[in-house]
C-alpha cells in the first residue's frame, strides 16, 4: 500500500467518459441526479429565505452534492450513515420526505427533532441517518462504534461516517481511525475534502499531499475519488462497501470536492478565498457533469431537465406554504428530554 497519487475519476470535467463505465443502471443515475438537483434547489431557496430573515441559519452543500447522494445510492437500505454538516442530502436519496427535511430547517412542530437543533443538522432514524452535534470530528468514533456493533450483531450492515478536511486535524478523527483499524470496524470513513475549513485551506491541515495519507498511517486501505464525479463516488463507495461487508476491515475514502458557497450563512468567503479558484471549480460542477453524461448517454433530455427543475421548485414552494406558518412545538417539548 502506497500513498495515493491517483484520483478515481470516471467522467471528466466536461462530462465525458474516461474509462469503461461500470454497470450502473440508468434508473439509479437518474435518481442520483434528481436528488442532487433537489438539494441544489433547496439550498438555493433556503439561502434566499435566510437573507430574507425567514430562516435562522443554513449550511448549504452546493458543489458537494455528489458525495452524500451517490454514497447513499451505493449503500443498502439497512446501512447507517453518520454524517457531518453537509450530508443531509443522503436522506433524500433514501426516501426521506422533502416536507420533513424542510420542517427541520424551520424547527417547527413537524420537525422530528422538535426544533432542538440548528438547520442543516438533519437526522432521521427512519432512513438510518445518525444525529450530528456541531462539533467537528466527534462523529467519526461514533461511526466506528456503530460498525463494531454491526459486526457483533452480525446483521450484515455497514456504517458510513463522514468528515470534512478540517476534521482531520481533530483528535477524534485520529481516535476513530485507530479504533476502526484496531477493532476492524465494519465502516467506511469518508473525508469530503472541500479544501476549506471555514477560512483555513486544506494545506494548513497537513503538509502531506493528500488527506488519505491520514488513513495510511493507521494501516487502513484508502482510495481517492473525484467527489464531483457522481459516477466515481457511486462506484468507489460500492467497491468499498463490498470490501467492508466481507469483513475485510474499514476503508477510508478521500473525496476531492469544493464548497462553492460560504461555510454557512454566517460566513463570507470573499475574506479568504480567491474568486479565480472558485471559478475554476465551477467548471467541475458535479451537477453539470452528471447532466452532460446523462444527455450524451441518451438517458436524459433538456426538456426533461426543465420539467424536473420546475417540479422541484413547485414542490419546495408548496411545502413552504404549509411549513413556514406551522407553529413550533410546545415549549415543554423544547425543554423536554
Amino acid at each position: 500500500m502506497l500513498p495515493p497519487t491517483e484520483t478515481m475519476r470516471i467522467i471528466d470535467f466536461q462530462g465525458k467518459v474516461l474509462r469503461d463505465i461500470p454497470k450502473v443502471s440508468r434508473a439509479i443515475l437518474l435518481r442520483i441526479y434528481r436528488v442532487m438537483m433537489t438539494v441544489r434547489l433547496v439550498d438555493e431557496r433556503m439561502l434566499i429565505l435566510h437573507r430574507q430573515g425567514r430562516v435562522g441559519f443554513y449550511g448549504a452543500c452546493t458543489g458537494q452534492e455528489a458525495p452524500p447522494v451517490a454514497t447513499a445510492a451505493a449503500l443498502q437500505e439497512e446501512d447507517w450513515i453518520i454524517p457531518g454538516l453537509r450530508e443531509g442530502a443522503a436522506m433524500l436519496y433514501r426516501g426521506y420526505p422533502l416536507e420533513l427535511y424542510l420542517a427541520q430547517v424551520f424547527g417547527n412542530g413537524l420537525d422530528p427533532m422538535r426544533g432542538r437543533q440548528m438547520p442543516s443538522h438533519q437526522a432521521a432514524r427512519a432512513v438510518r441517518q445518525f444525529s450530528w452535534s456541531s462539533c467537528i470530528g466527534t462523529q467519526v468514533p461514533h461511526a466506528v462504534g456503530v460498525g463494531i456493533a454491526m459486526s457483533r450483531r452480525g446483521d450484515g450492515s455497514i456504517a458510513v461516517g463522514f468528515m470534512g478536511d478540517g476534521a482531520t486535524s481533530t483528535a477524534d478523527v485520529h481516535r476513530g481511525l485507530w479504533a476502526a483499524a484496531h477493532f476492524r470496524s465494519r465502516c467506511i470513513l469518508i473525508c469530503q475534502n472541500n479544501y476549506w475549513a471555514i477560512s483555513q485551506p486544506m494545506r494548513s491541515q497537513t503538509r502531506s499531499r493528500t488527506l488519505a495519507e491520514r488513513a495510511y498511517a493507521y494501516g487502513i486501505p484508502f482510495v481517492r475519488i473525484d467527489g464531483n464525479d457522481a459516477v466515481a463516488v457511486y462506484q468507489g463507495v460500492g467497491e468499498a462497501a463490498e470490501y467492508v461487508r466481507a469483513d475485510k476491515g474499514p476503508v477510508f475514502l478521500e473525496m476531492e470536492t469544493y464548497r462553492m458557497g460560504a461555510h454557512s450563512s454566517a460566513d463570507d468567503p470573499q475574506l479568504y478565498r480567491d474568486n479565480q479558484e472558485v471559478a475554476s471549480w465551477k467548471q467541475r460542477d458535479p451537477l453539470v457533469r452528471l447532466y452532460t453524461f446523462l444527455l450524451d448517454s441518451g438517458w436524459w433530455t433538456e426538456t426533461e431537465d426543465e420539467l424536473l427543475k420546475q417540479k422541484i421548485g413547485q414542490s419546495i414552494t408548496r411545502s413552504l406554504e404549509v411549513l413556514e406558518p406551522w407553529p413550533i412545538a410546545p415549549i415543554e417539548v423544547g425543554y423536554g428530554r
Binding site: 437526522a123 432514524r125 452535534s133 462504534g145 456503530v146 477493532f183
Partner: protein, 325 residues
C-alpha cells in the same frame, strides 16, 4: 452470603450483567488481560471472551466515542476510565455527544451506557489519581451521576445503571475499594437510582456525604454520638438526579445541615445541596448550613490527608453547628 469488598461487588455486578444480557460489552484500558489496574474486571475476559471484554489502547475520547456508536446501535457498553482524573480527554464526547444525543435528535437516538471511573483521594495518588470530578457531570443535563459508598450499594446501583435508559457516570470511591467488606448477595439485584439512603437515624444534625467521605462521616457521627450529639447521616448515592426530598425531610427534623465532599469547595456540589435545602426549609434551619470540603487547590501528594475532609474535621464541624458558641 459472601463477604465482599467494593471491587469484588463491582466485579460481581459486571459478571452477572454480562451473563443476563448479551447486549452488554465492557471496554477500557487494561481491563481484559489483567482485569483492570484495580482488578475490577478480573476474570471477565476468560469467561466472556474478547468480543465482549475489550482491551483498548490509551484513548479515553476514542473509547467513549466508539461506545456511543455501539450504544446507539443497540449494544450496552460499560466503559472503564482507569482513573476519573483521565476522563477529560473524553469530556467532549461525554458532554457534547453522550449527554445530548437523545435531546438533540428529538428522541430518535440515544446511547444508554455506563462510564465507570475510580475517583477520590487518600491512596497516595497525587494530583492526577485523586480528583473528584462529579460536578462537571452534574452540571451537564442528560447524564446521571452515581457514587456508591459500600459494596452492597455498589453492586445494586451498578446493575441498575447498566439497565438504565440514560447514560450514567458511575464514580467509584477507590479509597474504599478494598478498605471495607460486607455481606453482598451473589444473585442479581438492583437498587433504585435517584434515591438517597438514610444510613443512620438521628435528631440534632443532618450530615450528607457520599462515596469515601460517607465512611469518614460515619466515624465522625459515632464520635459525635459519644458527645451526645445525635446525627442523621444521608448517603446520597445518586448525585444527579438528586433525592433532595430525603435531605429536606431530615433537615426539617434536625434544623442543622452539614455537607461533606472531597471536591474543591467553590462550585462544589455542597453549594447546590445547601441552596436547595435553604429554598425549601429556610425557616426550619436553626443555623447556617456548613460545608466541609476539599480545598480550592489542586490535590496535593504529600498533604493529601490534610486536603481530605476526614472524620476529625467533620466532627469539629458537627460540634460547631450543634453547639454554637
Amino acid at each position: 452470603m459472601p463477604h465482599w469488598n467494593l471491587v469484588e461487588a463491582i466485579n460481581s455486578a459486571l459478571r452477572i450483567s454480562l451473563n443476563r444480557d448479551n447486549r452488554i460489552i465492557i471496554l477500557g484500558e487494561d481491563i481484559a488481560k489483567i482485569g483492570g489496574v484495580f482488578r475490577a474486571t478480573k476474570g471477565l475476559l476468560e469467561e466472556f471472551g474478547e468480543a465482549r471484554v475489550m482491551d483498548t489502547p490509551l484513548s479515553e475520547g476514542g473509547i467513549v466515542g466508539i461506545a456511543i456508536g455501539m450504544a446507539a446501535y443497540g449494544l450496552r457498553p460499560v466503559v472503564e476510565i482507569q482513573f476519573a482524573d483521565f476522563i477529560y480527554p473524553a469530556f467532549d464526547q461525554i458532554v457534547s455527544e453522550l449527554a445530548k444525543l437523545r435531546y438533540r435528535s428529538g428522541g430518535q437516538y440515544s446511547a444508554p451506557m455506563v462510564i465507570r471511573a475510580p475517583y477520590g483521594g487518600g491512596v497516595k495518588g497525587g494530583l492526577y489519581h485523586s480528583q473528584s470530578p462529579e460536578t462537571h457531570f452534574i452540571h451537564t443535563p442528560g447524564l446521571k451521576v452515581v457514587v456508591p459508598s459500600h459494596p452492597y450499594q455498589a453492586k445494586g446501583l451498578l446493575t441498575a445503571a447498566i439497565q438504565d435508559e440514560e447514560p450514567v457516570i458511575f464514580l467509584e470511591p477507590k479509597r474504599v475499594y478494598r478498605a471495607h467488606r460486607e455481606e453482598v448477595p451473589e444473585d442479581y439485584y438492583t437498587l433504585p437510582l435517584g434515591k438517597a439512603r438514610v444510613s443512620c437515624i438521628g435528631e440534632n444534625v443532618t450530615v450528607v456525604a457520599w462515596g469515601a467521605m460517607h465512611h469518614e462521616a460515619t466515624t465522625a457521627i459515632e464520635q459525635a454520638n459519644e458527645r451526645n450529639i445525635s446525627c442523621e447521616l444521608i448517603d446520597l448515592q445518586t448525585l444527579h438526579p438528586m433525592d433532595i426530598q430525603t435531605v429536606i425531610t431530615s433537615v426539617r427534623k434536625t434544623g442543622r445541615l452539614v455537607v461533606v465532599h472531597e471536591a474543591p469547595r467553590t462550585g462544589g456540589f455542597a453549594g447546590e445541596i445547601i441552596s436547595q435545602v435553604t429554598e425549601s426549609c429556610f425557616y426550619h434551619l436553626e443555623c447556617p448550613p456548613l460545608r466541609i470540603t476539599g480545598a480550592d487547590t489542586p490535590f496535593p501528594y504529600t498533604g493529601e490527608m490534610d486536603y481530605l475532609p476526614l472524620a476529625p474535621r467533620i466532627l469539629a464541624g458537627i460540634e460547631a453547628i450543634a453547639r454554637p458558641s
